[in-house]
Assembly symmetry: C2
Homo-oligomer: 389 residues x 2
Amino acid sequence: MQNFTYQNATKVIFGKGTEDTVGAEVKKCGKKVLLHYGSGSIRKTGLYDKVVKSLKSAGVDFIELGGVKPNPRLSLVREGIDMCRKNGVDFILAVGGGSSIDSAKGIAAGVNYNGDVWDLYMRKGTSITALPLGVILTIPAAGSETSQFSVVTNEEGWLKRDIGYEFIRPQFAILNPELPFTLPAYQVAAGATDIMAHLMERYFTNVRNVEFSDRLIEAALVTMINNVPKVLKNPQDYDAWAEVMWTGTQAHSDLLGMGRIGDWASHGIEHEISAIYDIAHGAGLAIIFPAWMKYVMKHDVDIFVQFAVRVFKVEQDFHNPEATALAGIAKLEDFFRSIGMPVRFSDAGLGDERFEEMADKCTSGDTQKAGNFVQLGKEDVYKIYQLAK
Amino acid sequence: MQNFTYQNATKVIFGKGTEDTVGAEVKKCGKKVLLHYGSGSIRKTGLYDKVVKSLKSAGVDFIELGGVKPNPRLSLVREGIDMCRKNGVDFILAVGGGSSIDSAKGIAAGVNYNGDVWDLYMRKGTSITALPLGVILTIPAAGSETSQFSVVTNEEGWLKRDIGYEFIRPQFAILNPELPFTLPAYQVAAGATDIMAHLMERYFTNVRNVEFSDRLIEAALVTMINNVPKVLKNPQDYDAWAEVMWTGTQAHSDLLGMGRIGDWASHGIEHEISAIYDIAHGAGLAIIFPAWMKYVMKHDVDIFVQFAVRVFKVEQDFHNPEATALAGIAKLEDFFRSIGMPVRFSDAGLGDERFEEMADKCTSGDTQKAGNFVQLGKEDVYKIYQLAK
């Protein structure tokens, strides 16, 4: 196990009806609030009205910025920063999924940064402070509700990049498992895939002697495998949604990654797909993760055997670890297919014409390696795209 | 799953050599520090010198109060409160195991309380603030390093009682798995039993649909079962100690109990033993927990079957759930015995002459029920003592 420092102070308020506490929570944190949200689904579901009512009855003064899109855009982050500066905003409330939260974090980190916020995402500048923010989560997926990360897409060149600062973890995260009841099935499945990818990125590590966190991650993966089909079958299954939502948060709170070095190549390799084609991040991960696994498996077949046996209950072939490992990967593909995810580019109607370009961008022209479990160059990434064709 | 609120802001600094950061960490939190510790083992191991050196080189002004005993005493807590008030202490650093930390928390909660600190433990008063505190942990056991609890024993009548306030969670907890290398085997085993009891108290619940936390608790228990024998065999096994130490912290950080209602009867039933006989809390738990399990098993045999199969890999007898459940309890007893713990009063050289008195105290004269999974009266508690005779 590696040395580590872990602190996650986000207050999680979990359960039925918890969105009604938002006014009181915000009141503790800020005087002038930016309410930030997406394309209007929160208006259809009535959540918007509930939030506004709760804020008003708590006497919270707020302004609004809606219109966050999936793969949240830099232009809106810049607009939010401008609004916050002009209006003296001291707290941001994001209502929605990972896109709204990541956009809010971008705004929060940029407000006090003396320069263009994109510099932070391109590592050309660094932030030392952010506006505090709070979250009402509607889509279990990104884990951004307690994480230190924000991923934003720059429309000029469709570059998708992230920042990670401890001080952009939300002050509070309100999680009501009833809120995802109305999500489209495809979005549910893409979100679930993202959650599982966060777990698997941490799982496949070269760090030895990490039994406890191995087992925690396996616990989370098995819970997802058991409960995602339930919420797809019955979108009003509160109990199954509660499992998915709580697991999704812990999958990316980083507790389960402590003492390990995660890989994160699949996320980087996928980001190039969803940046160019604007498909759901989770769908891109369902395409990439199995291909990545097949490509790197021989680097440490034992960890893939452990994954197959403990997570997917594969009957171990003790004389043939590779067969066991491959059976586990096949089970993962079967699972993704069963929840309606693509597992090949062709499943998503995408061709191979931009593989070269994506591999180039992913590795910054073959100057930066992707991943930690195995460090991948441009040629490796290209081959992984090919495996997923 | 039940609604819940979870926040644990303690910063965990984990790994080799991390105690050397203590001066810098304390410097961020306080100007005048009380260094609080036990009976002198930290002097023997050289940890005391390291801590003092780190504090001095960071320019931290501190005073000292040593002498904390196992089952920490109210008299010393009162002495600490007096010292803090007289010297304007604004931060407490506890170095040691759960006893030193619990004693420090009692002092922290009592300093600004306008009355006798024992009132807090007897629920005759309540605290609304505490001095901040930090911790260097030397004994994985109580989980007090990130918990909101403190257990103290009043020598007048040997009453052992607890408090729980969010604001007594430590600001930071320094965990170096090398520090327990020098612990006596009996203390290691007692600590491990305490950790496992924290997990099992949360596991046995009447709340349904808690799959994720069921699996997290099972992950922690299996990790303990695999690694405690390793540290007993080779006390310098860093990797195994790292598993035990990190699991011990998460066993009582309360993350693994979210959405559930824990039982805690065994802790209460045990407290009467260690308050009277001054045996290790963990040893008392090894005696009580299996007896409690046998006594309450029929209330929900399924959860005991799940425990037996998933935690102890018992071959399930599908036609006889009770046999499977009992096999799991027998395996737990075997495990406790294998690490040198008593599993009967007689193993610890204790008789039955005070069972009546202990059952009476545990239930406040049969006016307060013990536990949540099954609510136990005085007669029930007496029978559990008898089962453990």
